[in-house]
Assembly symmetry: C2
Homo-oligomer: 233 residues x 2
């Protein structure tokens, strides 16, 4: 879909096949099953060859741990894992910064294939290096938009903004609009927008009633075409 | 400060003086007063020469506008502006994506000086181009950490995580720890973490009582050194 994405940033990597062959030959490629953790090292560059990667973080929640309020479960707080977005096929990712949140990556779907290289390896492919850096520029801008939606006070606004941004970036067209090709649990959505599974379920019902979101096939999230167009106006 | 920043990403731009001279000569440099809007065009690259830039977004809040709940003021919702972060001296910024949130930039302090160029201009300085792109990689990672903190359910955790991240990145050392060299209103903080000015004021009091944050001089935000070290551990 990418209705709002400059075509410059959505283009596939030109030298992709050459890179994939190189990675295969140098044992720098591996396939993961759904929800398997992808081990990631600082200083390496990763590329999603097939499937989709889910970025998450483990938050160390120190304020409420210290406050010791009886209503707050420490065990629950300590395990809070935030969904930070997808990395689709053809896209790069890396993990540099670590503290106070540990960033991690998981295969979001079965048969997710990832290859990796040192940044120096890219010296052999200067044009590709530029495309990778442009892809990071684009991802950075998307995260600014994401931060914009999370700055909103009302959870329903954060939720709708979040869903629109995700489907804008990764959505596939169908007769009723655009759908997100991967499933996302209400708990995962809640972890991204600072809310709970229960609240997300309730607000999703409200958004569906208002016709702002839809479900496609087996419960995939979808947005009517006119909602996206309204956003573009 | 940058206690958690790889030195690779915190280094000043080597060819900075040459770029600044070039910008001066080609009338690509301008100084702004505090809170003056910096006009930014898609496709151009901006560099902060002096001072600090504040990135914000205007959210188009469509879900709660449609819901027409009496408790929600439409005028207020329509003007919701989210604080998205600072760009400090020596750092680049750009604005590509626009919808559904309009990103904008303001001078955060007086005498903020910004220069700009086309991306093609960087072809003359390939090494500098690489540093700019590495700076964007670093900014992207910081935004992932920021998203991590905003995924937390409790506002006090989002608030403390937000303050720690800001001070980690921009803080200056003093005898009591590290302080943020620029002021930030409680309303601006609220707009970043999905909360209100009133709630931020209340929770800041709580964090100060717990010794997790401090005030430096005329109300600048500060964090004791041991809190930062605890986060690094």
């Amino acid at each position: 879909m990418y209705p709002l994405t400059p075509s410059d940033y959505a283009r596939p990597f030109l030298t992709w096949q050459r890179i994939a062959d190189w990675a295969q030959k140098h044992y720098r490629s591996r396939t993961f099953s759904k929800d398997e953790r992808i081990p990631v090292r600082t200083g390496l560059l990763y590329l999603v060859e097939r499937g989709a990667v889910r970025l998450v973080s483990d938050a160390h929640v120190i304020a409420s741990q210290r406050s010791q309020e009886p209503s707050e479960s420490l065990a629950e707080a300590a395990n809070e894992e935030a969904f930070l977005g997808f990395v689709g096929a053809g896209q790069p990712f890396e993990i540099i910064a670590q503290s106070p949140f540990a960033l991690q990556s998981y295969a979001h779907v079965d048969q997710t294939s990832v290859l990796w290289m040192y940044w120096q390896d890219l010296d052999n492919w200067p044009h590709f290096r530029r495309e990778v850096l442009d892809a990071f520029r684009y991802q950075h801008q998307r995260k600014l938009l994401w931060l914009s939606t999370l700055g909103q006070r009302r959870t329903i606004d954060r939720l709708l903004g979040f869903l629109i941004l995700l489907i804008e970036e990764f959505g596939q067209p169908y007769e009723g609009g655009y759908y997100l090709p991967w499933s996302l649990t209400h708990a995962q959505i809640g972890s991204a927008i600072g809310s709970t599974r229960v609240t997300v379920t309730r607000l999703m019902g409200k958004l569906r009633q208002q016709g702002l979101i839809r479900l496609y096939k087996d419960g995939l999230l979808a947005i009517p075409a006119d909602i996206v167009q309204q956003q573009q106006a």
